[in-house]
Symmetry: C2
Subunit: 209 residues, 2 copies
Protein backbone atom coordinates (compact mmCIF):
# COMPACT_ATOMS: atom_id res chain seq x y z
CA UNK A 1 0.00 0.00 0.00
CA UNK A 2 1.18 3.49 -0.80
CA UNK A 3 2.49 5.32 2.29
CA UNK A 4 0.74 8.45 3.59
CA UNK A 5 3.26 11.27 3.54
CA UNK A 6 3.32 14.44 5.61
CA UNK A 7 4.87 16.99 3.24
CA UNK A 8 5.07 19.89 5.73
CA UNK A 9 8.87 20.19 5.72
CA UNK A 10 10.42 18.32 2.81
CA UNK A 11 14.20 18.13 2.94
CA UNK A 12 16.24 17.75 -0.25
CA UNK A 13 19.86 16.86 0.33
CA UNK A 14 22.74 18.64 -1.34
CA UNK A 15 26.28 17.83 -0.27
CA UNK A 16 27.55 21.18 -1.54
CA UNK A 17 25.69 23.21 1.11
CA UNK A 18 25.86 20.87 4.11
CA UNK A 19 27.38 22.12 7.35
CA UNK A 20 27.94 18.57 8.63
CA UNK A 21 30.54 16.09 7.48
CA UNK A 22 28.11 13.31 6.58
CA UNK A 23 24.71 13.25 4.94
CA UNK A 24 23.53 10.76 7.54
CA UNK A 25 24.28 13.20 10.38
CA UNK A 26 22.70 16.02 8.44
CA UNK A 27 19.51 14.06 7.80
CA UNK A 28 19.27 12.93 11.41
CA UNK A 29 19.64 16.48 12.77
CA UNK A 30 17.02 17.74 10.31
CA UNK A 31 14.57 15.00 11.24
CA UNK A 32 15.04 15.87 14.92
CA UNK A 33 13.91 19.37 14.02
CA UNK A 34 10.75 18.09 12.35
CA UNK A 35 11.62 17.38 8.72
CA UNK A 36 8.75 15.11 7.68
CA UNK A 37 10.09 13.64 4.42
CA UNK A 38 13.60 13.33 2.97
CA UNK A 39 14.64 13.34 -0.66
CA UNK A 40 18.14 12.08 -1.40
CA UNK A 41 19.53 13.90 -4.41
CA UNK A 42 22.94 13.00 -5.83
CA UNK A 43 23.91 14.12 -9.28
CA UNK A 44 27.67 13.87 -9.07
CA UNK A 45 28.57 10.41 -7.90
CA UNK A 46 28.69 6.91 -9.30
CA UNK A 47 25.70 4.59 -9.12
CA UNK A 48 27.53 2.48 -6.54
CA UNK A 49 28.17 5.50 -4.31
CA UNK A 50 24.56 6.64 -4.64
CA UNK A 51 23.33 3.15 -3.79
CA UNK A 52 25.54 2.86 -0.71
CA UNK A 53 24.66 6.36 0.47
CA UNK A 54 20.96 5.66 0.00
CA UNK A 55 21.27 2.48 2.09
CA UNK A 56 22.95 4.46 4.87
CA UNK A 57 20.40 7.29 4.82
CA UNK A 58 17.56 4.78 4.84
CA UNK A 59 18.81 3.43 8.16
CA UNK A 60 18.29 6.92 9.61
CA UNK A 61 14.91 7.60 8.01
CA UNK A 62 13.68 4.14 9.02
CA UNK A 63 14.77 4.68 12.61
CA UNK A 64 12.66 7.86 12.75
CA UNK A 65 9.86 6.48 10.54
CA UNK A 66 10.29 9.31 8.06
CA UNK A 67 9.69 8.50 4.37
CA UNK A 68 12.67 8.49 2.01
CA UNK A 69 12.36 9.58 -1.61
CA UNK A 70 15.17 9.06 -4.16
CA UNK A 71 15.81 11.70 -6.80
CA UNK A 72 15.78 10.44 -10.39
CA UNK A 73 17.09 6.90 -9.87
CA UNK A 74 14.12 4.55 -9.93
CA UNK A 75 16.45 1.54 -9.74
CA UNK A 76 18.18 2.76 -6.59
CA UNK A 77 14.80 3.50 -5.00
CA UNK A 78 13.75 -0.09 -5.69
CA UNK A 79 17.09 -1.60 -4.70
CA UNK A 80 17.09 0.00 -1.24
CA UNK A 81 13.33 -0.16 -0.65
CA UNK A 82 12.75 3.60 -0.59
CA UNK A 83 9.21 4.97 -0.41
CA UNK A 84 9.42 6.46 -3.86
CA UNK A 85 11.16 8.70 -6.36
CA UNK A 86 11.16 12.33 -7.37
CA UNK A 87 11.37 12.99 -11.09
CA UNK A 88 12.38 16.25 -12.72
CA UNK A 89 11.64 17.15 -16.31
CA UNK A 90 15.06 15.71 -17.29
CA UNK A 91 14.46 12.37 -15.57
CA UNK A 92 12.53 9.37 -16.90
CA UNK A 93 8.87 10.13 -17.61
CA UNK A 94 6.36 9.58 -14.80
CA UNK A 95 4.48 6.81 -16.63
CA UNK A 96 7.70 4.89 -17.40
CA UNK A 97 8.68 5.11 -13.74
CA UNK A 98 5.22 3.93 -12.68
CA UNK A 99 5.50 0.87 -14.92
CA UNK A 100 8.76 -0.05 -13.24
CA UNK A 101 7.79 0.89 -9.65
CA UNK A 102 4.30 -0.54 -9.54
CA UNK A 103 1.32 1.07 -7.80
CA UNK A 104 2.62 1.17 -4.23
CA UNK A 105 5.54 3.58 -4.56
CA UNK A 106 5.29 7.36 -4.35
CA UNK A 107 6.18 9.29 -7.50
CA UNK A 108 6.75 13.00 -7.19
CA UNK A 109 7.24 15.23 -10.19
CA UNK A 110 8.60 18.72 -10.66
CA UNK A 111 6.34 21.24 -12.38
CA UNK A 112 7.10 24.84 -13.27
CA UNK A 113 3.62 25.87 -14.41
CA UNK A 114 0.01 24.74 -14.50
CA UNK A 115 0.44 22.84 -17.76
CA UNK A 116 3.28 20.69 -16.43
CA UNK A 117 1.41 20.23 -13.14
CA UNK A 118 -1.77 18.93 -14.79
CA UNK A 119 0.23 16.69 -17.12
CA UNK A 120 2.23 15.12 -14.28
CA UNK A 121 -0.90 14.53 -12.23
CA UNK A 122 -2.70 12.90 -15.17
CA UNK A 123 0.32 10.64 -15.81
CA UNK A 124 0.12 9.35 -12.27
CA UNK A 125 2.28 11.53 -10.03
CA UNK A 126 1.38 11.31 -6.33
CA UNK A 127 2.61 14.79 -5.43
CA UNK A 128 4.15 17.77 -7.18
CA UNK A 129 7.15 19.92 -6.41
CA UNK A 130 6.21 23.31 -7.85
CA UNK A 131 8.56 26.25 -8.22
CA UNK A 132 10.77 28.14 -8.32
CA UNK A 133 8.73 30.09 -5.75
CA UNK A 134 11.28 32.38 -4.10
CA UNK A 135 14.37 32.26 -6.30
CA UNK A 136 16.61 29.31 -5.60
CA UNK A 137 20.37 29.54 -5.50
CA UNK A 138 20.74 25.75 -5.87
CA UNK A 139 19.90 25.51 -9.55
CA UNK A 140 20.60 27.75 -12.50
CA UNK A 141 17.96 26.57 -14.94
CA UNK A 142 14.79 27.50 -13.13
CA UNK A 143 12.14 30.12 -13.76
CA UNK A 144 10.15 31.85 -11.06
CA UNK A 145 6.49 31.16 -10.46
CA UNK A 146 4.22 33.71 -8.81
CA UNK A 147 2.38 32.84 -5.60
CA UNK A 148 -0.99 33.35 -7.30
CA UNK A 149 -0.05 30.78 -9.99
CA UNK A 150 1.05 28.41 -7.22
CA UNK A 151 -2.36 28.91 -5.63
CA UNK A 152 -4.15 28.14 -8.92
CA UNK A 153 -2.08 24.95 -9.34
CA UNK A 154 -3.02 23.83 -5.81
CA UNK A 155 -6.68 24.32 -6.69
CA UNK A 156 -6.33 22.58 -10.07
CA UNK A 157 -4.72 19.28 -9.12
CA UNK A 158 -6.08 16.93 -6.46
CA UNK A 159 -2.63 15.83 -5.26
CA UNK A 160 -0.36 17.49 -2.67
CA UNK A 161 1.80 20.37 -3.90
CA UNK A 162 5.14 21.16 -2.30
CA UNK A 163 6.58 24.62 -2.87
CA UNK A 164 10.22 24.53 -4.00
CA UNK A 165 12.94 27.07 -4.65
CA UNK A 166 14.53 29.51 -2.27
CA UNK A 167 12.26 28.77 0.69
CA UNK A 168 13.79 30.27 3.84
CA UNK A 169 12.94 31.31 7.38
CA UNK A 170 12.29 34.81 6.04
CA UNK A 171 9.72 33.89 3.40
CA UNK A 172 8.12 30.56 4.34
CA UNK A 173 5.17 32.35 6.02
CA UNK A 174 4.16 33.71 2.59
CA UNK A 175 3.08 30.18 1.64
CA UNK A 176 0.18 30.34 4.11
CA UNK A 177 -3.09 30.33 2.24
CA UNK A 178 -1.48 29.16 -1.00
CA UNK A 179 -2.85 25.67 -0.57
CA UNK A 180 0.52 23.91 -0.57
CA UNK A 181 0.93 20.79 1.53
CA UNK A 182 4.44 21.77 2.47
CA UNK A 183 7.70 23.42 1.57
CA UNK A 184 10.88 21.90 0.21
CA UNK A 185 14.12 23.16 1.67
CA UNK A 186 17.80 22.59 1.18
CA UNK A 187 20.19 25.26 2.47
CA UNK A 188 17.56 26.80 4.79
CA UNK A 189 18.03 23.65 6.87
CA UNK A 190 21.23 21.80 6.04
CA UNK A 191 23.22 24.94 5.30
CA UNK A 192 22.65 26.27 8.84
CA UNK A 193 24.93 25.88 11.82
CA UNK A 194 22.06 24.54 13.92
CA UNK A 195 20.19 22.26 11.54
CA UNK A 196 17.65 21.06 14.10
CA UNK A 197 16.70 24.57 15.22
CA UNK A 198 16.47 25.76 11.62
CA UNK A 199 13.97 23.02 10.80
CA UNK A 200 11.92 23.83 13.91
CA UNK A 201 11.74 27.52 12.98
CA UNK A 202 10.70 26.77 9.41
CA UNK A 203 7.84 24.59 10.57
CA UNK A 204 6.64 27.35 12.88
CA UNK A 205 6.82 29.81 10.00
CA UNK A 206 4.93 27.49 7.67
CA UNK A 207 2.20 26.81 10.21
CA UNK A 208 2.03 30.48 11.32
CA UNK A 209 2.81 29.68 14.92
CA UNK B 1 12.69 -16.90 -19.55
CA UNK B 2 16.20 -15.58 -19.84
CA UNK B 3 17.24 -15.00 -23.47
CA UNK B 4 20.08 -17.01 -25.02
CA UNK B 5 22.73 -14.57 -26.16
CA UNK B 6 25.37 -14.99 -28.85
CA UNK B 7 28.30 -12.99 -27.50
CA UNK B 8 30.57 -13.39 -30.57
CA UNK B 9 30.71 -9.69 -31.44
CA UNK B 10 29.48 -7.51 -28.60
CA UNK B 11 29.09 -3.85 -29.51
CA UNK B 12 29.34 -1.14 -26.84
CA UNK B 13 28.20 2.27 -28.01
CA UNK B 14 30.17 5.44 -27.44
CA UNK B 15 29.01 8.65 -29.06
CA UNK B 16 32.49 10.14 -28.88
CA UNK B 17 33.98 7.72 -31.44
CA UNK B 18 31.01 7.25 -33.81
CA UNK B 19 31.48 7.98 -37.50
CA UNK B 20 27.71 8.28 -38.04
CA UNK B 21 25.43 11.09 -36.94
CA UNK B 22 23.02 8.95 -34.96
CA UNK B 23 23.47 6.01 -32.63
CA UNK B 24 20.52 4.29 -34.28
CA UNK B 25 22.24 4.36 -37.70
CA UNK B 26 25.48 3.25 -36.15
CA UNK B 27 23.84 0.29 -34.39
CA UNK B 28 21.96 -0.76 -37.50
CA UNK B 29 25.10 -0.72 -39.68
CA UNK B 30 26.97 -2.72 -37.05
CA UNK B 31 24.21 -5.32 -36.79
CA UNK B 32 24.22 -5.66 -40.57
CA UNK B 33 27.89 -6.61 -40.25
CA UNK B 34 27.13 -9.30 -37.69
CA UNK B 35 27.21 -7.64 -34.27
CA UNK B 36 25.35 -10.18 -32.13
CA UNK B 37 24.57 -8.14 -29.01
CA UNK B 38 24.45 -4.39 -28.35
CA UNK B 39 25.20 -2.56 -25.12
CA UNK B 40 24.00 1.03 -24.90
CA UNK B 41 26.38 3.04 -22.76
CA UNK B 42 25.66 6.68 -21.96
CA UNK B 43 27.47 8.40 -19.15
CA UNK B 44 27.04 12.00 -20.12
CA UNK B 45 23.36 12.64 -20.66
CA UNK B 46 20.26 13.12 -18.56
CA UNK B 47 18.09 10.17 -17.56
CA UNK B 48 15.38 11.41 -19.93
CA UNK B 49 17.80 11.50 -22.87
CA UNK B 50 19.14 8.05 -22.03
CA UNK B 51 15.61 6.69 -21.78
CA UNK B 52 14.55 8.15 -25.12
CA UNK B 53 17.73 7.00 -26.85
CA UNK B 54 17.31 3.52 -25.42
CA UNK B 55 13.75 3.37 -26.75
CA UNK B 56 14.98 4.39 -30.21
CA UNK B 57 17.86 1.88 -30.23
CA UNK B 58 15.54 -0.88 -29.06
CA UNK B 59 13.43 -0.39 -32.19
CA UNK B 60 16.54 -1.24 -34.24
CA UNK B 61 17.69 -4.18 -32.14
CA UNK B 62 14.15 -5.58 -32.02
CA UNK B 63 13.85 -5.33 -35.81
CA UNK B 64 17.00 -7.45 -36.19
CA UNK B 65 16.26 -9.66 -33.17
CA UNK B 66 19.55 -8.71 -31.53
CA UNK B 67 19.60 -8.47 -27.73
CA UNK B 68 19.97 -5.04 -26.13
CA UNK B 69 21.85 -4.55 -22.87
CA UNK B 70 21.78 -1.24 -20.95
CA UNK B 71 24.91 -0.05 -19.19
CA UNK B 72 24.48 0.74 -15.48
CA UNK B 73 20.86 1.93 -15.46
CA UNK B 74 18.70 -0.93 -14.24
CA UNK B 75 15.64 1.32 -14.26
CA UNK B 76 16.05 2.30 -17.90
CA UNK B 77 16.56 -1.36 -18.84
CA UNK B 78 13.26 -2.20 -17.15
CA UNK B 79 11.44 0.85 -18.49
CA UNK B 80 12.25 0.06 -22.13
CA UNK B 81 12.10 -3.72 -21.82
CA UNK B 82 15.78 -4.34 -22.60
CA UNK B 83 17.22 -7.84 -22.30
CA UNK B 84 19.44 -6.88 -19.41
CA UNK B 85 22.09 -4.65 -17.91
CA UNK B 86 25.84 -4.47 -17.77
CA UNK B 87 27.30 -3.43 -14.44
CA UNK B 88 30.78 -2.10 -13.82
CA UNK B 89 32.50 -2.03 -10.46
CA UNK B 90 31.16 1.54 -9.94
CA UNK B 91 27.54 0.59 -10.71
CA UNK B 92 24.99 -0.95 -8.36
CA UNK B 93 26.04 -4.38 -7.04
CA UNK B 94 24.99 -7.45 -9.03
CA UNK B 95 22.78 -8.85 -6.27
CA UNK B 96 20.95 -5.52 -5.83
CA UNK B 97 20.31 -5.38 -9.56
CA UNK B 98 19.08 -8.99 -9.54
CA UNK B 99 16.57 -8.18 -6.79
CA UNK B 100 15.17 -5.36 -8.91
CA UNK B 101 15.34 -7.11 -12.30
CA UNK B 102 14.07 -10.53 -11.32
CA UNK B 103 15.37 -13.85 -12.67
CA UNK B 104 14.64 -13.38 -16.38
CA UNK B 105 16.93 -10.48 -17.25
CA UNK B 106 20.58 -10.80 -18.22
CA UNK B 107 23.12 -9.26 -15.88
CA UNK B 108 26.64 -8.78 -17.13
CA UNK B 109 29.46 -7.66 -14.88
CA UNK B 110 32.90 -6.26 -15.52
CA UNK B 111 35.82 -8.11 -13.96
CA UNK B 112 39.51 -7.22 -14.08
CA UNK B 113 40.92 -10.35 -12.47
CA UNK B 114 39.95 -13.83 -11.34
CA UNK B 115 38.82 -12.67 -7.89
CA UNK B 116 36.32 -10.18 -9.30
CA UNK B 117 35.22 -12.73 -11.92
CA UNK B 118 34.45 -15.44 -9.36
CA UNK B 119 32.69 -12.95 -7.09
CA UNK B 120 30.45 -11.62 -9.88
CA UNK B 121 29.55 -15.14 -10.99
CA UNK B 122 28.70 -16.21 -7.44
CA UNK B 123 26.51 -13.12 -6.99
CA UNK B 124 24.48 -14.09 -10.03
CA UNK B 125 26.03 -12.49 -13.11
CA UNK B 126 25.04 -14.21 -16.37
CA UNK B 127 28.16 -13.23 -18.26
CA UNK B 128 31.39 -11.36 -17.62
CA UNK B 129 33.19 -8.64 -19.50
CA UNK B 130 36.85 -9.26 -18.70
CA UNK B 131 39.70 -6.91 -19.53
CA UNK B 132 41.49 -4.76 -20.31
CA UNK B 133 42.89 -7.34 -22.75
CA UNK B 134 44.65 -5.25 -25.40
CA UNK B 135 44.88 -1.73 -23.97
CA UNK B 136 41.74 0.32 -24.46
CA UNK B 137 41.81 3.94 -25.44
CA UNK B 138 38.16 4.44 -24.31
CA UNK B 139 38.80 4.45 -20.58
CA UNK B 140 41.61 5.77 -18.45
CA UNK B 141 41.09 3.77 -15.29
CA UNK B 142 41.72 0.25 -16.50
CA UNK B 143 44.53 -2.21 -15.90
CA UNK B 144 45.70 -4.78 -18.42
CA UNK B 145 45.07 -8.47 -18.04
CA UNK B 146 47.28 -11.10 -19.67
CA UNK B 147 45.81 -13.60 -22.10
CA UNK B 148 46.79 -16.51 -19.87
CA UNK B 149 44.87 -14.96 -16.96
CA UNK B 150 41.90 -14.49 -19.29
CA UNK B 151 42.17 -18.18 -20.15
CA UNK B 152 42.23 -19.17 -16.47
CA UNK B 153 39.12 -17.04 -15.82
CA UNK B 154 37.29 -18.73 -18.70
CA UNK B 155 38.11 -22.11 -17.17
CA UNK B 156 37.16 -21.00 -13.65
CA UNK B 157 33.67 -19.60 -14.17
CA UNK B 158 30.83 -21.50 -15.88
CA UNK B 159 29.36 -18.39 -17.53
CA UNK B 160 30.31 -16.78 -20.85
CA UNK B 161 33.29 -14.42 -20.80
CA UNK B 162 33.57 -11.53 -23.23
CA UNK B 163 37.03 -10.04 -23.78
CA UNK B 164 37.03 -6.24 -23.49
CA UNK B 165 39.53 -3.47 -24.04
CA UNK B 166 41.31 -2.45 -27.21
CA UNK B 167 40.05 -5.33 -29.34
CA UNK B 168 40.76 -4.55 -33.00
CA UNK B 169 41.02 -6.19 -36.41
CA UNK B 170 44.74 -6.54 -35.77
CA UNK B 171 44.54 -8.46 -32.50
CA UNK B 172 41.16 -10.21 -32.30
CA UNK B 173 42.65 -13.47 -33.65
CA UNK B 174 44.77 -13.69 -30.48
CA UNK B 175 41.59 -14.51 -28.54
CA UNK B 176 41.31 -17.89 -30.29
CA UNK B 177 41.85 -20.67 -27.80
CA UNK B 178 41.35 -18.36 -24.81
CA UNK B 179 37.92 -19.74 -24.13
CA UNK B 180 36.07 -16.45 -24.48
CA UNK B 181 32.55 -16.48 -25.87
CA UNK B 182 33.15 -13.28 -27.76
CA UNK B 183 34.84 -9.92 -27.98
CA UNK B 184 33.51 -6.51 -27.05
CA UNK B 185 34.29 -3.69 -29.41
CA UNK B 186 33.70 0.03 -29.64
CA UNK B 187 35.90 2.03 -31.97
CA UNK B 188 37.01 -1.05 -33.94
CA UNK B 189 33.46 -1.03 -35.34
CA UNK B 190 31.70 2.29 -34.82
CA UNK B 191 34.84 4.36 -35.26
CA UNK B 192 35.37 3.01 -38.80
CA UNK B 193 34.24 4.58 -42.04
CA UNK B 194 32.60 1.31 -43.11
CA UNK B 195 30.99 0.04 -39.93
CA UNK B 196 29.36 -2.99 -41.53
CA UNK B 197 32.56 -4.20 -43.19
CA UNK B 198 34.53 -3.62 -39.98
CA UNK B 199 32.14 -5.87 -38.03
CA UNK B 200 32.34 -8.57 -40.71
CA UNK B 201 36.15 -8.57 -40.63
CA UNK B 202 36.23 -8.77 -36.83
CA UNK B 203 33.98 -11.80 -36.82
CA UNK B 204 36.21 -13.53 -39.37
CA UNK B 205 39.22 -12.71 -37.22
CA UNK B 206 37.56 -14.01 -34.08
CA UNK B 207 36.46 -17.25 -35.74
CA UNK B 208 39.77 -17.68 -37.57
CA UNK B 209 38.19 -17.71 -40.99
Amino acid sequence: MKPEIDYTLYLCTDRKVMTTESIEDCVELAIKGGVSVVQLREKECTSREFYELALAVKEITDAYEVPLIINDRVDIALAIGADGVHLGQMDVPVQAARNVLGPDKIIGATAHNIKEAEKAWKLGADYLGVGDVFGTTSKLDTSRIALDELHIICQSVPIPVVAIGGVSEGNIHKLQGSGVAGAAVISAVIGKENITAAAEELIKGFLGE
